[in-house]
Amino acid sequence: MSFDDWILALHVLSAFAFVAGMVIFWVLIVAVRRTDTPEGTIRMEPIVKVGNAAVGIGAGGTIVLGIWLAFSYGGYDIWDGWIIAAIVLWAIAAAVGQRTGNAYMQGMNKAQELQAAGQTGPNAELLALNRTQNGVLLHALATVVVVLILIDMIWKPGA
């Protein structure tokens, strides 16, 4: 295996980590919809951290190693249309993903606030925050963008 083959393998592994993180958040989005207690919400935090780590490593690895490959791999250039498209889509996914995180952190912050105040029972406001429609839409949008990146990477239009 050449050095570029190793970089390609790590690039693809990063892409898997990115999508795995998104899958984690889909499962959490479904799970948290029935969670109306501070404790139940806070108990999701370790899984959120795994998701954040997967998305962070995945997003960082795909862009850094992807750009490396664009310069290093024979036959591809950074200004190729499909590579520019992938970078633009990656930036959109990252921005939308950050907004999704902010939407769901409102529920987590509220849960911590309630717990600090000694309120451990069900809370309607917390449930409403955990069921954020905005968050679901943003995560759906980020997912569509990531699938478009995958399509772009496989079909390589214009290459």
């Binding site: 898997f16 795995a20 998104m22 499962v27 108990r43 496989i154």
Partner: protein, 154 residues
């Protein structure tokens, strides 16, 4: 062999998309399941969440991945190699992880399913711990398979 592997006809693009998307869902579902089971600390809700992540996310991902793999294989040169020529190592690794992994995955689902049923009686955490351990082993195997499929070692 690696030259053949790097040349991919357009007709393989869609099967490859199905294969990779399925594999990504499989890895995501397995990571979710393993994480939920690992952080459950005996709590039934999280144990169920972990098990259902494996059953409702990772399993469909596995089916998609395996169907995509068989589809590509049937269209590729690897299915028509001259007699006496072996498949390349990266393809062998993929097959071993997929098929042996399927067996392990099935065992983890059966063991976990019994565990989830026993949660009603306050039991079953040990069985779900076994499911978690198998899931972590599978995750490690999937990392090796993705590395092999993408890097294509000789």
């Amino acid at each position: 062999m690696s030259v053949i592997a790097s040349i991919r006809p357009d007709s393989e693009n869609f099967p490859l998309f199905v294969h990779v998307l399925g594999a990504m869902i499989l890895v995501g579902g397995t990571l979710t399941g393993a994480s939920a089971l690992a952080f459950a600390r005996g709590e039934a809700r999280h144990l169920r969440l972990g098990y259902w992540s494996l059953l409702a996310v990772a399993l469909p991902g596995f089916v998609l991945m395996r169907v995509g793999a068989a589809w590509i294989y049937s269209r590729s040169v690897w299915d028509n190699l001259p007699e006496g020529t072996d498949d390349p190592a990266w393809l062998g690794i993929g097959f071993i992880v997929a098929d042996l992994g399927a067996l392990l995955f099935l065992i983890s689902l059966i063991v976990g399913g019994i565990g989830v049923r026993r949660l009603q009686d306050g039991k079953g955490t040990g069985l779900l711990k076994a499911t978690m351990v198998i899931s972590i082993v599978l995750l490690a195997a999937y990392v090796v398979a993705v590395w092999a499929m993408a890097g294509k070692p000789d």
